[in-house]
């Protein structure tokens, strides 16, 4: 893979910091770090379909919830390790994604149709989950506490941190890999102009489905993590509208279509959310209101997100440096 010298140095530094830092933090701050990585991870999964391929989904909770329920039910009802459950959930989500993708992309339905179809899907699953006794209905699924790697349960927060860190690094590598292969180029082409892409030999349906598959699969894995970390899931925590919004907000704000955008977005928004919720507990809905405002502000003032701004600034700096080169008069 292609890593410029400078970004390689930064990445290694970042890796070291992220491995060492939790050792110095107490449980509360560790929890915040975990939520940053967790939502950053989910945002990155969304980013593959939304930021890269340009298909914005407003209902990614559908995949998240499928992952959460699949592994939890397999664990609680059949004693199957959540690690295997994670895989099972991911495969299930993949099938679901391909099905929805087929319905939507077949006639070239995109944009609002797709966004809403995903939302409808998530809501449908929520209704089914509430009303279906076999999945415990509105009561939800309670994961038994424990301290076993095989059961993906830990007393301490630290193992969870390293697991989500590994997942985050994994999705970053996947995203970077996609960006540098034909897959990523084709995703961008589809995002920018489908007709032009077609005329250049790109099979739109095929690549959209691939983006969908990757995104669904990885998002579902995040659902399993959630279930094992919080020890409890229910229909609204798994499929609810606020979950879908939380998932897409970080990449949009941080920079859709960039590798680090979702993580950057999460670095900003997750602590904000935690602080708002704990400081202003009496005003329920405040943190959502703030999120809504940030979304609006981002779309109007920073449409390419924070990373987009960073890239622009970087470009300006490089241009100025080129103009006032070492051999030219200032």
């Amino acid at each position: 893979m292609n890593f410029g010298g400078r970004s390689l140095a930064f990445s290694i530094l970042g890796l070291l910091v992220s491995i060492l830092i939790p050792l110095f933090l107490d449980a509360y701050y560790l929890h915040i770090l975990i939520t940053i990585l967790f939502w950053g991870y989910l945002g990155s999964c969304w980013n593959i379909l939304g930021g890269y391929a340009g298909q914005f989904s407003f209902g990614h909770a559908a995949f998240f919830g499928v992952g959460a329920y699949a592994s939890s039910l397999l664990f609680v009802d059949a004693g199957i390790s959540p690690w295997i459950g994670m895989l099972a959930g991911a495969v299930l989500a993949l099938v679901l994604g391909l099905f929805i993708g087929y319905l939507c992309f077949r006639y070239g339905l995109k944009g609002p149709y797709f966004a809403l179809s995903m939302l409808a899907c998530a809501q449908m699953l929520q209704i089914i989950a509430v009303n279906w006794k076999a999945v415990k209905g509105a009561l939800g699924v309670l994961i038994p506490l424990g301290d076993s790697f095989l059961n993906f349960t830990f007393k301490n927060r630290l193992p969870y941190y390293y697991i989500i860190l590994a997942m985050m690094i994994g999705i970053l590598i996947l995203t970077k890999w996609i960006q540098e292969k034909r897959l990523g180029y084709y995703f961008f082409a589809i995002r920018e102009d489908e007709d032009a892409a077609k005329a250049l030999g790109i099979n739109i349906q095929k690549y959209k489905m691939m983006a969908m598959a990757l995104s669904a699969f990885t998002t579902a894995m995040g659902g399993t993590f959630y279930a094992q970390y919080y020890y409890y899931i229910d229909p609204s925590l798994s499929f609810g509208g606020s979950v879908s919004i939380d998932i897409l907000l970080r990449p949009i704000v941080g920079g859709p279509g960039t590798v680090f955008g979702p993580l950057v977005g999460s670095l900003l928004l997750s602590p904000l959310s935690e602080i708002t919720r704990s400081l202003f507990r009496q005003y329920s809905g405040l943190h959502q209101m703030i999120f809504g405002s940030i979304l609006i502000a981002t779309v109007i003032f920073l449409p390419r997100g924070i990373m987009g701004l960073v890239q622009d600034i970087g470009l300006q700096i490089r241009r100025k440096v080129k103009k006032v080169g070492p051999h030219e008069p200032a």
């Binding site: 034909r182 032009a196 005329a199 099979n203």
Partner: protein, 243 residues
């Protein structure tokens, strides 16, 4: 065997017949110009050949193979690439990325595709702009990008839809040389243009459409004397005027 053969191609949109029983053939290595007043069906024909529309009647054969029911991306893979009248650059990607996407048509490996893209940029004179974003390009640069991107797909037949529109005389001359250079590489070209001088000097043969029908075909010299063509463009009064 002709490279491309269009037989009896008809396309209707509701009550309007945009293309009516058009027959034409393109020979390997030639530059075929297509002219006709606005609304004559030229761009519709492009859409039909490249799979963006499906014809109601008729056949399109490429190297003897029927392609009329193929998708646009499949047709590109077969060897026909087109540009768009209103250019469609990938605005938030760099020039190099744009053309690389074209090159990826035949070359699955990105680093090799980039090489081909760079060569294509040099050939089309855009290499100095390779790191510029699509939205920051001027109109003539965009037209050139559209052409470069299409060229990078390594087509056997290139369909150019009014690549000269909006260009200044010097830019037009450069573009003419570019297209001749493309033919020099062995690529067959079908060009739609409005600017008479360009078509006359560039084309080996010309086909003339009017109201969706082919009204004439021949060398530039023959076409300029053809009564039907003169009538279509200038009206009946000029039919008997001397050139």
């Amino acid at each position: 065997m002709s490279l491309l053969e269009v037989k009896g191609l008809t396309k209707r949109f509701g009550g309007v017949t945009a293309v009516h029983r058009v027959e034409l053939s393109i020979e390997r290595g030639e530059i075929l110009g297509m002219i006709g007043p606005n609304g004559a069906g030229k761009t519709t024909l492009f859409h039909l050949i490249t799979g963006f529309h499906s014809g109601d009647e008729g056949h399109i054969l490429f190297k003897g193979e029927e392609i009329s029911s193929l998708r646009p991306d499949q047709i590109c893979k077969k060897g026909i690439t087109r540009t768009f009248q209103i250019v469609k650059p990938f605005s938030h990607l760099t020039v190099l990325q744009n053309v690389t996407i074209g090159a990826l048509n035949r070359i699955p490996e990105v680093s090799f595709a980039k090489q081909v893209a760079l060569e294509t940029l040099r050939f089309t004179g855009l290499d100095k702009k390779k790191d510029q974003m699509g939205i920051h390009l001027t109109t003539p640069e965009r037209k050139r990008l559209e052409l470069a991107r299409a060229l990078a797909t390594s087509p056997e037949l290139l369909l150019l839809d009014e690549v000269m529109a909006g260009l200044r005389p010097k830019e037009i001359e450069e573009m003419i040389r570019l297209i001749q250079g493309i033919r020099g590489k062995g690529i067959t070209v079908l060009v739609i243009e409005h600017i008479m001088k360009v078509i006359m000097s560039l084309s080996d043969r010309i086909v003339v459409l009017n109201y969706g029908e082919k009204i004439a075909t021949g060398t530039p010299a023959e076409i300029s004397k053809d009564q039907k063509v003169i009538k279509a463009y200038l009206g009946k009064e000029y039919v008997f005027a001397e050139r």
